[in-house]
Amino acid sequence: MAGSEVKVLGTWASPFALRVHIALGIKSVKYEWVEENLEAKSQLLLESNPINKQVPVLIHHHKPICESLAILQYIDEAWPSAPSILPSDPYHRAVARFWAAYIDHKWFTWLKGVASAEGAEAKKAALDQVREGLVVVEEAFGKCSKGKDFFSGDRIGYLDIVLGCFLGWLYVAEKRNDVKLLDEEKMPGLAAWAIKFCLDGAVKNVMPDKDELLDYANMVFQAMAMAKAKLNAPPNY
């Protein structure tokens, strides 16, 4: 199955594309990274993911696979030799899938909500929701890790990758709003996990620099604010 050309279409700032980087790194798979410009999507991206036209896309044996969670599971199955990404036991796999869905569909939606919240009160409510979500995940971490370093135990796995890819953007939200979200006192397990995750061999060379991400985010949000102001500006008669 392995040994054929592997390509990843992604962007350096995309947490979902980062998941694919990390997973391929865990499996020691060689791949070509294609940096996409989302303002001018390549023909390859539009052909590989005509449904959503989004990154990441993994292309293996000339076949595209889309959606980061489907890609992670594909990588684990296409390169079945250790180390595994998903747990081997069906129940632990179910637990990992459950929390991956919570992180993607609930928690990450709340994190995005911080950026779109308007006014001090809405911002505070959005930030509180992100923090409360992390408290829930802290409890899940305790149960999954059973005292070890990672959700998956001794080494990083599915759930570590699913949450860990958002650490850069969590830092961005903290800096832009001048708050602490990943609080060492409220979430000691996750706080320690985050440091170890970022130092992992499959993560440290591919994780974007968080201050570069912050600069990029500031630029993007400023451009969005300017575009909005232009839209709302009274017409010139």
């Binding site: 044996h61 599971q73 796999r93």
Partner: protein
Amino acid sequence: MAEQKVKLLGFWVSPFVYRVIWALKLKGIDYEYIEEDIFNKSPLLLQLNPIHKKVPVLIHGDRVISESYVIVQYIDETWPHCPLLPQDPYERAMARFWADFAETKLLDTAWLGICARGAEREKAVKLAMEAVEKIEEVVKGKKLFGGESIGYLDICLGWISYWLPVWEEVGSVQIIDPIKFPATSSWMNTLLHLPVIGYNLPARDATIEYCQKRSKDLYESDWFKDKIRLHLHP
């Protein structure tokens, strides 16, 4: 482990619960069904699924699993006979992709189309039809998504064959036009004629009555506003 007792917490009309029922029946797994009143949630449900407080919940021995597609994959992996997911990793990835697509792009927008009114209804229905167009291409030339026999994707999308026509009737809309979507219509018909599906469905009249009331109750609710924002004003 496989021989441990299985219980399913469900709600009589939920398409998500039926995914699990169909999977259990296909695998020939005996289970105890526990009906839950989702409008008056039991301490058992709140204890077993404190995060979402929703059905279905599968109890297998001392293990508790929530989220319908997580449960279906758990069933498939714990009882590996009569596999639901394909064996090939690429085909598995496709099944997962399309299950996620139908959930996020069709199920939400179709139900939203029934709950919404005026221009919002029109837009939601249009989005739902665009999603069906894409699903049509996937099922074209196939008897079932799983090929000759029912598989994971048939189970995840099975609600389309029964609940969607009910919603169309309740909302007086048409999302699945058999002339525009012949392959999807044919698949719906094939699925409903499989005993495991056809004999395991909620009563139609009761389902219509429930959906009529529920769609009215959800209008302008927080759920409704969130979904309108997510799908109609992303």
